[in-house]
């Protein structure tokens, strides 16, 4: 995935990565200490930026706005982030800096192509990237007291409907297929594959 990392704290980066991984990462993506304009982001499919740099320089909202408009997946990492959170339809990830650097090299090795679907889920979960979606879907069924999607269809609220549709699209399943049992099976398959 064609990625740019903006991190002004070079030493911290070295600390998290270690010498070997740092050299490897340098060959797989573009790394910079800062950026002058959003134009530099145009050629990249994934942006990863140190959140504190954006906050300290007053560019936090602008970068978020840019990424949303340009539909570019954005990772904001920082040492102070205590809870990793995905939002904006999987296009924004806030992640602890240590977690970010522990995953980025492996992620770029696994996905060398320029563009991929659902990059942030794949970044977070690797091969198990569907797992949070399955769990979310399972919780949607539970929320509506349904065993399967068809049962849920009539009662689902607008916000959840969009979410439900989106997850189904990503999982590439039609509404008749997905049920709690189906999800449990998929989760078990994943568990076994991981073992």
């Amino acid at each position: 995935m064609k990625t740019i990392i903006i991190d002004e704290r070079e030493i911290r980066k070295q600390q998290y990565l270690g010498v070997g991984d740092e050299e490897k990462l340098n060959t797989m993506c573009t790394i910079s200490k800062d950026f002058e304009s959003f134009q530099v982001f145009d050629e990249f499919s994934l942006l990863a930026i140190h959140q504190s740099l954006l906050i300290e320089t007053g560019r936090f909202s602008d970068v978020l706005g840019y990424a949303e408009v340009m539909k570019k997946p954005l990772i904001l990492f920082s040492g102070g982030i205590t809870q990793n959170i995905v939002s904006n339809s999987g296009k924004l990830l806030k992640i602890n800096a240590a977690d970010f650097y522990s995953k980025i090299t492996q992620f770029l090795m696994e996905y060398p192509e320029e563009q991929i679907d659902y990059p942030l889920l794949k970044f977070m979960y690797g091969k198990e990237w569907e797992k949070p979606l399955l769990l979310r879907y399972k919780s949607l069924l539970w929320k509506y007291g349904a065993k399967e999607t068809s049962q849920m269809v009539n009662m689902i609220e607008k916000n959840d409907r969009e979410l439900e549709y989106e997850i189904r699209e990503i999982l590439n399943q039609d509404s008749d297929t997905i049920s709690t049992d189906w999800i449990n099976n998929r989760l078990n398959e994943m568990k076994e594959a991981a073992l």
Partner: protein
């Protein structure tokens, strides 16, 4: 019962459709925790702000939370983080409230994947897949929700709480992942709170961070009952050199110095270190500060820039270079290493004046460890401040060294004499441990004066006369040497002894040899133009040499007396103080007739041919 439901619209609709509803005798209150990642604040701060409001309103008997609050990341298990906050926050007063996790999740998975999952097996934590109001109400009614009335302090010692702590693992955020950063933050918080600083710098971070809440609960520490005893009671100037100074240490030490009724003064430097482009720039900033501030004690962190964390050789650390510069300039400035490192052995070469270790998390297990640390810090700083005279001493010794080197009066022996001055300073430092060392230092210093007066270039001691040398000229001070009683000799002298010191005027000198007092007095009167030798405390200095300094077993040479001899030497070796008397004040050179008499006395009758 009052039942609180915390959610992010991800639980059965009827539980959060209305902010408040009643069901079969129970009151339900629903509150949304909808963290927006587009905000600049972090999740813990968001939670704390929100829960401060929620728990400020009323007391709840039961709290219901889903396992996760994330809209799109269902495995964040952020509900567990919320519950852990509730268990660990004294101020919210719900630390023993029953917590019900609601959802159809696999409990084993949660315990496996979340560091906080272990809490599901602890006291008053329940899970339920109940879906309707009826089911949930039945479940809640089935719980033992009797208020568990216990103070937070007692709760911290309760075995059920200890069990909760043992099952819950709160990881340090990445910015505290190194031992240094966590220790630094933790000790600032602990020490500041202990000495009564109300609003600790960065307190919000400590207050809101789950990691620090966890540490505070795990290691509550003892309360300070006698604040005054922890404040510094010694005069002097302390400078802290630490890139973390502004993060709380400046305030902590400033407060500690407030206790000094003598007026200890504190300042710090370190704010600009992060922005400094090089090690040299930091060193230069510190040098300037030391020049202007003139500290007696420097509290020095050795790692002052990010790059220092990757330096293997401790002597290459920025702080180590500053240490060298300080000691090069004045060995008497006390440099106390102030470190968050757990590798103390690396710093021993720099720790001769003292080392203060910041309180690390793992050491906080001991309840009164904070008190011990602060007490130790106070003692070290007080001791160093007590030794602040060493700075003055060394400054004077340095000047004397300079005078001796510049004048080259000792010729080939200059290096040896300068070395003696360094030895004297080492002895003065050692006096802090044992009183005798001031006497040894005194003798070393006095010896330098003695050696000087015996130099042929200073005094020419012939068989019969004593001359004081002034470049190509000489002053005849003693003459007409005659044997006296008891092995003594009697001279005619150009100075006379009266009232404990010598003055200009003819008299007699009686002695087996010409002693240092006479020699120094001669120099004071003739070379420095003084009227008597009682100036610059010389008489007293000479007396101390032969009394206190010579018998250290029964006497103590005081620091004031050391200062006297150093001041004297500063005067005595300063060529700018030289003010020769006219040669006529001494005896005239021997005439030919006098020479003839001397030769006759030595060799019998001799005839001289003109």
């Amino acid at each position: 019962m009052n039942i609180l439901i915390l959610h992010n619209s991800n639980i059965p609709l009827e539980l959060f459709k209305y902010p408040k509803f009643q069901f079969k005798g129970n009151d339900y209150f629903s509150e949304t925790l909808d963290y927006n990642p587009r905000q600049e604040i972090d999740f813990d701060t968001f939670l704390c702000n929100k829960l401060n409001d929620i728990f400020g309103k009323m007391l709840y008997d039961v709290i219901i939370i889903p396992f996760s609050l994330g809209e799109e990341n269902y495995t964040d298990y952020s509900g567990l983080r919320v519950a852990t906050h509730i268990r660990l926050t004294k101020e919210w007063n719900h630390f023993t409230a029953p917590i019900v996790f609601l959802g159809n999740d696999d409990i084993q998975d949660i315990i496996c994947y979340s560091d906080l999952g272990g809490m599901l097996t602890t006291y008053r934590v329940y899970t339920s897949q109940a879906w309707t109001k009826e089911e949930i109400n039945n479940f809640v009614n089935s719980l033992n929700s009797t208020k568990y009335s216990v103070s937070y302090d007692d709760w911290l010692n309760d075995s059920r709480f200890k069990h909760f702590l043992s099952r819950t693992h709160v990881k340090a955020p990445a910015n505290y992942a190194t031992h240094h950063s966590a220790t630094n933050k933790w000790s600032i918080f602990r020490w500041s709170r202990y000495i009564g600083i109300e609003n600790v710098d960065g307190q919000d971070e400590i207050k809101n961070s789950l990691y620090f809440k966890y540490l505070k609960s795990k290691y509550p520490g003892a309360e300070n009952t006698d604040q005054e005893q922890l404040l510094i009671n010694e005069k002097g100037r302390i400078l802290l050199v630490d890139d973390e100074a502004e993060k709380g240490w400046h305030r902590f030490f400033k407060t500690m110095c407030k206790g000094s009724s003598y007026g200890a003064i504190f300042d710090s430097i370190g704010n600009g270190f992060k922005k400094a482009v090089s090690k040299e720039e930091i060193i230069s900033q510190v040098e300037k500060k030391i020049d202007n501030y003139k500290p007696d004690v420097v509290l020095l962190d050795l790692r002052l820039r990010d790059e220092d964390y990757f330096v293997n050789d401790p002597t290459e650390l920025t702080g180590a270079k500053i240490f060298d510069k300080i000691k090069e300039n004045n060995r008497g400035i006390q440099v106390v290493i102030f470190s968050a490192s757990n590798k103390i052995w690396n710093y021993l070469p720099f720790a001769s004046d003292g080392i203060i270790l910041k309180e690390s998390v793992e050491m906080s297990m001991k309840a009164d460890y904070t008190k011990e640390c602060i007490n130790n810090t106070r003692k070290i700083l007080e001791n160093c401040l007590k030794r602040r005279y060493l700075k003055d001493f060394y400054s004077k010794i340095k000047d004397i060294k300079q005078f001796i080197s510049d004048s080259n009066c000792f010729g080939d022996r200059t290096e040896e004499l300068v070395g003696r001055l360094e030895i004297a300073f080492d002895l003065l430092k050692m006096n802090c441990e044992k009183n005798e060392y001031n006497a040894y230092a005194y003798l070393q210093l006095f010896l330098i004066i003695e050696e000087y007066t015996k130099l042929p270039s200073v005094m020419d001691d012939t068989d019969t006369d004593l001359y004081l040398c002034k470049e190509s000229d000489r002053y005849r001070i003693l003459k007409d040497k005659k044997p006296g009683s008891g092995g003594n000799f009697i001279y005619q002298s150009a100075i006379y002894f009266d009232c404990g010191h010598y003055s200009l005027g003819q008299g007699k000198y009686i002695g087996r040899f010409i002693d240092t007092n006479f020699r120094v007095s001669t120099l004071l009167i003739f070379k420095f133009g003084e009227n008597t030798s009682g100036v610059h405390n010389w008489t007293n200095i000479n007396t101390i040499r032969s009394t206190k300094a010579a018998h250290p077993e029964s006497n103590v040479v005081t620091n004031d007396e050391i200062l006297q001899i150093l001041n004297f030497m500063n005067y005595f070796f300063d060529k700018n103080k030289v003010n020769w008397r006219p040669q006529k004040d001494a005896f005239p050179e021997r005439t030919d007739e006098e020479n003839a008499v001397l030769l006759q006395e030595k060799f019998g009758n001799v005839t001289f041919k003109k």
